[in-house]
Amino acid sequence: MENKIIDISNEIIGSPDGRSDNNEQANGGNADPNYWRSFRELYNDPEFNKLKEREFAEGALERPDVSRMSGLSRRKFLALLSASAAVAASGCSNFREKGFLVPYNKKPEEITIGVPTYYASTCTGCSSACGILIKTIEGRPIKVDGNPDHPVSKGKTCSVAQASVMNLYDPERLKNPVERPDKLTSNEIQWPAADEKIISQLKSAASSGKEIAVIAQTITSPTARKALDDLAKAYPTVKVYSFEQYDESTKRNAYEKSYGTRNLPVVRLDKAKVILALESDFLGSEPGKIENAMMYVKNRDAFGGEFNRLYAVEGNATITGMNADYRIILRTDAIEEFVYALMIELIEREKVPTADPNLLNRLQKAGMSSFISKYNIKKETIEHLVSDLKKNKGASYVMAGSALPESTHIAVNLLNDALGNTALHAEDDTRVTVMPHSTKQEIDALISSMKSGKVGVAVHYDSNPVFLLPKDMNYADALKSVPLVVSLSEMENETTSASNIVLPVNSMFESWGDHQTRSGFMSLQQPVIAPLYNTRQKEAVILTWAAGNKDAFNTELYHKYLQDSWKAGVLASQNTDMLFKSAWNAGLNDGVVKVTAGTTAASLSSASPSSATNITTATGFKSDAFVNSTNVMTPSGNYVLMLTPNPNLGDGRYANNGWLQELPKPLSRVVWDNYAAISVQTAKALGAENGDMVKITAPNGNLQLPAFIQPGMAEGVIAVQLGYGREVCGIVGKEVGFDTGALISKNYKLSPWLYNDSVSIEKTGEKHDLVSTVEHYNIEDPLLKDIQFRRGIIQEGTYLQYKEDPEFIKKKHENRNLESINEQYVHTGTKWGMVIDLNKCIGCGECVVACNVENNIPIVGKDQVKKNREMQWIRIDRYYAGTPEEPKTSFQPMLCQHCDFAPCENVCPVAATTHSADGINGMAYNRCVGTRYCSNNCPYKVRRFNYYNFRDHFRDAVQESESFSLMANPEVTVRSRGVMEKCTFCLQRIMEERSHAIRENRQVIGSNVKTACQEACVTDAIAFGDQNAKDSELHRLMNSGIGYGVLEEIKVKPNIIYLAKLRNVYETENTEAHH
């Protein structure tokens, strides 16, 4: 190529030989062949030589040609310029004033700029009423974590509590009272005017003997109930109803028949050596999941005592089942038959004594061997189960799912009783109910009264019965016959849209309260901020009405009422003002107050239709409950329809919370949707694929929704999740998913959430876009099958293997311990690291939400997730092994591994991602130019790129609203379009510890730093700290014999170590479990 150029040059501009002569001339005989400015000069181009003779370039000295100039006059040009400037200036008039940063003139005592303040309170996100700590910065609540002093939740919270700050700052919260004279008119009114109208109607209804119905959901506050009782005293026709779409009513009914009390026991799962879960997702979605998960993993610590063993028998696929050591796949409606067979096996063959011979008569027909052959179940698994239950009498427990019918729960109560498992019921603690839910008959009677005009006023006490009650109850129609319908609510919903007056109420961050869910303590709730909008606390509204005077309201009304209630109740012994104030403040500081069993905040009257609180503990199973049990569940029909609770969106009340909508479901990883989960066999029979629309026909009508093929489900079982399909909701949650609650019937045969009569499913031929964050691949494909094991991404073994050789995982590594080409940098000071224990990780995803909140991670929307553009810094990888019909599941949280030889760092052209001296792979956002090379080169695919400013891009820029901006963690940069981001090991928390260390003149202590995911992890599966602190727990875990790094053979040296999952199976099955 080079020769060719020279040839051409010679041809065109002559030989280079002439150059020296020319240069000599040009330079006065001092030619220097080394200096030339261009090829034209080098090769002596005649044209170039001519140019050198001219001082100015051609055209520079000639006069301009006027005829060729623009006709635009100077005047016109200036006029256009001014007009453009004026238009541009008027366009800028929309500039948003950002305000000024000024110091406090009078600094509140509890605020120090830049230092977070914590307040203990109680989460009202569900009926569990967990203790929380609210973190505020300069007064703004920005994060919620668990209160370590709370005896039940013990410093842990669920995703609902974590994401609750988004509900507080939701720009679509109701801001003022609204009056709706008719469906089309909606007028804002003032509180006094609204109160006056309502009080007048209440008086009128009470005097004319018409019922005043107060419809609430679960009430856990004794003082709130007292306020409702006061309302009933003022207006004698008041009746209070409470309900939930999904609750434990069948379990409670069964418990009442079995033991004479509706108060369910606290089961000490931490003392159970064997747990049998019957269609029970006690780790994932059942009430009490936080406490259950914490107790369950206490015996899943490889460095602690003996492992427990979990058996699951289920038709649906749940987190609990997928974490089980043995999983038996069985149609849900065959579970009661299974319990009978198990009982006869235990009673007859294993000689478990029974109290009553009548029981045997009832069980006569049941037999395990016929059951095994009927349902094609592995005999060995049943033998292990029977043997384990027999061996661990009094140290095992059978958990039955809330969706199962009453008869199954009674049978399970008997089974637990026969095995002596009631020994695991906590003696000093029991679950209590401040106000039991109304029965189906009571709600039906209310609806009849409404229709017949006997109800004068209906007050919805922060409840949404139009959406939640079974549609065949026709509640919405009944409301039309009520003269005044009032709703107290935080957000617009299906019931507020059917109300005449809608009153906005405070969020949990703006409310006082007390809550009781256990006999031994009560928790307090305190408002950390004044109401953001023109809202009032709902209890204060009730008290204003009870006073019969609109002027009775003041902002401290309920605060004082609550204190008075406690003065008369819990803190009655603190009989002086000073003593009371001190005890009250101590209670608010801790968030919980111990009480003696039977104490409530105040004495309760009986205005509510249901019975008052009863905290007696259960003693002795009543055999009659089992002998006389009717409606025994037996398999029938081709399909079983199961409605499952939604652990994230609740009953749909959190549908407008994008963080929760975008949290992938643990198994399917589907976001922004619900679906009909069906088995592989059912899908084959229907000819359905993922996303195919199917029509489900149930006793209460039919519903069309997409199908999702869920490996590990029983043939014929259809599982659909509740909480979706909201129609009157904010912009985020409106019309997301399908209202599966419409399938609930008031005339159920088994339970409100389980149907096997007249259930059918058929393909409609339409498609729906189901978006999942997991790559869909065929697990039967030989190329991909069990790739997680073959590449060592998931490493696991059995507990017995571990007992024999605690180093067995480490020894496997030694075989592939290749030499690195990089020289290891020695971190002499702190070196941060993380350990994730896969024995404790249950795949729930609470850590993902905590990370979102802590690190200002935006919601991107379904369309962007579909393009793999989700922004969550942690993803929970879910792997299946085995067959689609009977898979074995592994969960693995995957986040930036902060590799010592991070491949992302080498390829960044602008050094935006670099390594710190303490081993953190950091990101300089303002340096990043968005090449995405780092993401391409990351073997773990944990980097996230801002393809848009997602805050602006998603749902009419709702995340850019003024209120949402108050939610941001000021310690973490809000990223914009074109920037790469990823896990930082919560660098802001490390910096906080560093500043403490500097102030206290000490070294940084690794264990003082807790990352957001670690803090939220219910099962304490995540440990974080300084790897170089030899005496630390982290150091011990990192160097344990079952620790491994993912893809360690590529020698990037990740700083996250995973502890291999150990399945507690019998030795004979080692080979199957160990890959």
Binding site: S73, R75, K76, A83, A86, S90, S93, N94, F95, R96, E97, G99, P108, E110, I111, V115, P116, T117, Y118, Y119, A120, L133, K135, T136, E138, G139, R140, P148, D149, E510, Q526, P527, V528, I529, A530, L532, E556, H559, N585, L588, N589, D590, D956, A957, E960, S961, E962, S963, L966, R989, E992, E993, H996, N1008, V1009, K1010, E1015
Partner: protein, 73 residues
């Protein structure tokens, strides 16, 4: 034709009449006023300059936790 005459002619042909000038100015002012008064989609929705800014006021009766928290002392 001298250059001065040329300029005068050019100027007179380009000159805007006083009446026309005021009419155009008035129309422009009216247009600007309307453009700023009529809300246009998202920009109007996001505009909060006219509203009172949202204020977060700590509740004086809330009790700050004095116990050490694992991360923030």
């Amino acid at each position: 034709m001298t250059s001065t005459n040329l300029n005068k002619k050019t100027l007179s042909s380009d000159k805007i009449g006083r009446k026309k000038f005021f009419l155009l100015t008035g129309a422009a002012a009216l247009g600007t006023a309307l453009a700023t008064a009529i809300p246009f989609g998202k920009s109007a929705a996001k505009d909060s300059s006219s509203k009172e800014p949202l204020r977060v006021i700590p509740n004086p009766h809330a009790v700050k936790r004095t116990k050490n928290k694992a991360n923030g002392k």
